[in-house]
Symmetry: C2
Subunit: 122 residues, 2 copies
């Protein structure tokens, strides 16, 4: 779906895109990006991501994630579940413990999508 | 403030950082990044950002932002205020209308900070 940008009313007609029709993010794409950004918009989750990334191979046992941040394991589990649902980590159960692996490509993808917001015509 | 990562208990001691002490994001920095991400985590705000960026010089009158997204001017004003508070746009009043200018460097900064989360030792 393409949303049409009407002729500007307050200034000259020259634009970086086609003056009368600019493709802005599709609602579904914007919703998806917003959902992923929301999953990141929590200080504890940001710290957990970096903590996982600091472990060997970017992989950490949940048993090693509670103490550094001073939060309970159920709290960590909740945050890690949200991060996994948005694709920022993968989860693997090993016996008693869940292990999480960082997905740098998911974080890089968000960064690129944010940078491209300011260059809609490129 | 530095948070100390204790010795891992479930696996080998080799890590990409110093085994017993890893600097993870400072709480204040994580809160700031989380706050900016939250400002972006709304589909309408993401669309507004790209709409502003698509205008000449990345600058748009608020009067040109309501119709393309089918939202009211108070709604646009609310969203643009949040985006301005987080530094993603600047605001300039010209007579009756507010004009907003995109700040690509702010979006790029967020992207770089997200990418660096997965490389805490670099």
């Amino acid at each position: 779906m393409t949303i049409t940008l009407p002729n500007p009313t307050s200034r000259q007609q020259s634009t970086c895109c086609t003056p009368t029709e600019t493709t802005i993010p599709r609602p579904a794409e914007s919703r998806d990006l917003a959902r992923r950004l929301k999953a990141l918009s929590d200080p504890t989750r940001l710290q957990l991501l970096q903590l996982v990334a600091a472990h060997p191979g970017g992989r950490a046992c949940i048993c090693d994630l509670t103490e550094p941040l001073g939060v309970t394991q159920p709290t960590v589990s909740h945050h890690m579940k949200l991060l996994a649902e948005s694709g920022f980590v993968t989860r693997e159960q090993q016996g008693k413990w869940a292990h999480y692996t960082i997905r740098p490509e998911a974080l890089n993808d968000i960064g690129q999508r944010l940078a491209s917001l300011s260059h809609p015509c490129s």
